[in-house]
């Protein structure tokens, strides 16, 4: 399905969703991060080396909004890690849809991480592969898979990509 059949309005709407998502994370509004997903969803952060050969191991794998909320509760109250900020840079998305209801989107991302020492490093680079649906008039991620090239994670991953 080519992009030409997608209305400018829909393109704008998808772009707004993608932009708002990364802004939410980078602004540390993580409590709102699960709201970008449908109740039953799939969010995974998976190394490209596994994805390419069909091995399922992901570093984050959540199949409900509840699991996403639990990630954030743990991040806020349980996990121990040094102060860190993300800055996501994303590419223009490639958007396609068969029926206008389920929208398939792919985009590239780079996440820079800055810690207390003030050094910003390229922390995680990859692509998002998304399935977006409309729920109560609002676009949400039914699936969001971050397939990362940077398969050597520095220290740990606590904040979602």
């Amino acid at each position: 399905m080519s992009n030409t059949n997608i209305s400018l309005e829909l393109k704008n709407e998808v772009n707004q969703l993608l932009d708002a998502y990364v802004q939410c994370i980078d602004d540390d509004n993580l409590e709102h991060w699960p709201d970008f997903f449908t109740e039953n969803c799939l969010y995974q952060v998976i190394p490209r080396e596994n994805h390419e050969i069909g091995q399922p191991t992901a570093v984050m794998w959540c199949d409900s909004q509840g699991m996403l909320r639990d990630r954030i509760t743990a991040l806020r109250h349980a996990n121990i890690y040094q102060v860190q900020w993300y800055r996501h840079i994303t590419s223009h998305p490639v958007i396609s849809t068969e029926d206008g209801n389920t929208i398939k989107v792919q985009s590239n991302y780079a996440v820079f991480k800055t810690c207390n020492d003030g050094e910003s490093t390229v922390y995680n680079v990859g692509r998002y592969v998304d399935v977006i649906v409309r729920e109560n008039g609002v676009l949400k991620f039914k699936e969001r898979t971050a397939i990362y090239d940077t398969h050597r994670i520095t220290t740990l991953m606590v904040i979602p990509i």
């Binding site: 596994n50 996990n79 890690y81 050597r152 740990l156």
Partner: protein, 416 residues
Amino acid sequence: MTITPAHLKWPAGTDYTAVPYSIFNSREVYDLEQEKIHNGPTWNYLATEAELPEKGSFKSTYIGDTPVVVTRGQDNEIYAWVNRCAHRGAEICRERHGKSEDGAYTCVYHQWAFDAKGDLRGVPFQRGLGGKGGMPKEFDKTEHSLRKVRVVNYCGVIFGTFSDDTPDIESYMGEDVSYHFKRIMKGPIEVLGHTRQYIAGNWKFYSENTKDPYHASLLHLFHPTFGIYRASLGGGTIVNNDVHSVLWVESSKEDESKLDDVKSDKTRTYQEGTYQLADMSLLAGAKEFDDDTTTVIFSLFPSLVVHQIQNTLAFRQILPKNENEFELVWTFFGYADDTEELRRYRLKQLNLVGPAGLISMEDGESTELCQKAIVRDGDYTNVLEMGGVGTGTDDHFVTEGAIRSLWKGYRKLMDV
């Protein structure tokens, strides 16, 4: 003659309760470790047999920081050799894993070709071209094999050693580590994938960490925060041959009277229902062993830690990169005959462990915290007196006995 760097001088009279910080950030010590430990009489984890399924399969990895390729030959045997061409020292195998269809491993630089055993098979223009050039007549290909690694396949796991003095694998690991190896390798495994973590800390800080049951309920707060885990679960530590260890937890031995001690101590550890999981399915699982052990973390020094944490199973390969950094490669697995349900449990529970593991992501962090703070004062030492000053096995978690044992064995291996 043995060279003993000044950094390896243990403070007198402390036995194994005090380790000088200088051994964690000295290049001299690091190089000596590569020689005496990783290139010495130790078995090092290379791969699971499942990663080498067919004739021609190969995987690139390391022993210490030496690049090594492990192969399955046309005779179906497993071999390993240093990934360095016998000609001019170039890296031969440039892929992480794959299959050599013709069974040859050819250096791209001058196309010297080796077989799965590491023997030299072909040298382009060996006889020269048009009667000119070429290798000397007496050049003997059999004298130019790759540096070979002695390998053993133990319960479907491949180990390698550079030394002829390394004892057989079961004697090397000891009775309890061997028991747990056989327990966890109870049937053919299926590799579920790898994750990799790069940690700015000395590799031995991680060895200590995985022999340290004392930190588990104090650093890793996921379970206590959600009121799931209690420090009073039954279990203990077992030490084999000083440097190998087993940390185990049994679910059925919870002792409520011990809990009162924890509560009155008001540590962070015991928080009753402060937070609740929104989706409890994360904790769903199945009993899959014929015992009550819910967690076992056992280590085969210097390169391997194996774990069962609920239904997650993994090999963690410790790869030192220099005195200040190491890589941790996780190979997650299940069994070839897993039911769909059990497989789903495993995949969901992978959220708990690994680089983004809810219950253990802090291990890399703790290693880095130590590395950052020991830059100076190399003659200062840590304090390893929890549970006494002795080495060996304990039937509780409030001990650093397995860490003291590690240093006892380390000093033997390093000859200091």
